[in-house]
Symmetry: C2
Subunit: 157 residues, 2 copies
């Protein structure tokens, strides 16, 4: 068994443990730096009443807290299942070295989770999405960006 | 000024305030239920060392905590800027009634944020993404789903 499969098996085990303990859906994730597991997390959506508490998000947040950084530089992320668009977006923002996953979005869909549907939704133009999302244009919508550009100490992310 | 613009102006103001206070990027968001603002939040990525602490995520989490629910039923979400893929994914999972936004992903990109790029990345097949993301297939990757299906008390989300 190679290193990637070993970490993925740990992520799968986190998912099993979390589901059995009633913490949320059957998903687990790990953040690894070198040979050190910085964070291991499971889905906690239903136990925490937090729709964003997917395993990957929980693992990213825990690892970043440990590192004291908003970037997962030189880290690898292992997810028991293909990250949903929310988690994949979070991974882009966190910028790890690589992401490895085991089950696929199709398998998640077969187990009753919306991952595949949300991927399809994001690819659609605003007006044909199932979630009503409207752009309202008016004067002043760029004020936060203008203020931002004028801040000498701004920290980019 | 209609109701939607009024709430969007409050979200924009949250973004200005947060950026000026050094809490993070110039983004704000509100969750509103009826005529009650359940949560108002700004981006806190850099001050909290949390790459997932976008304004929408922070507002969703706070409103869900207040409601004691992982769903934003009958709520509207107001975002100072078009939600990035992470936040849009989170909105799909939270299932509010509607989402309204002011600035666009293009304007965010012009101010130096990766939103538009991440949208393009998500539409690409795994092998042509800038973030290395690999699917590893092996026996047992569906075990969490099999365990899940056998749990009588499982809570769907």
């Amino acid at each position: 068994m190679n290193e990637h499969e070993r970490y993925l098996r740990m992520a799968l085990e986190e998912g099993v443990r979390g589901a059995r303990a009633g913490r949320g859906g059957p998903f687990g994730a790990l953040v690894v730096q070198g040979d050190r597991v910085l964070a291991a997390a499971c889905n906690e959506v239903t136990s925490r009443n937090d729709p964003t508490a997917h395993a990957e998000i929980q693992a990213i947040r825990a690892a970043c807290e440990l590192l004291g950084s908003f970037q997962l530089t030189d880290c690898d992320v292992y997810a028991s299942c293909e990250p949903c668009p929310m988690c994949l977006g979070a991974l882009y923002w966190a910028r790890p070295r690589a992401v490895y996953f085991a089950a696929t979005r199709k398998e998640a869909a077969a187990a009753g989770f919306d991952d595949a549907t949300i991927y399809e939704e994001l690819a659609r133009p605003l007006e044909s999405r199932s979630l009503r999302i409207e752009h309202l244009a008016f004067e002043g919508t760029n004020r936060p960006f203008d203020v931002w550009r004028g801040l000498p100490g701004r920290i980019r992310y």
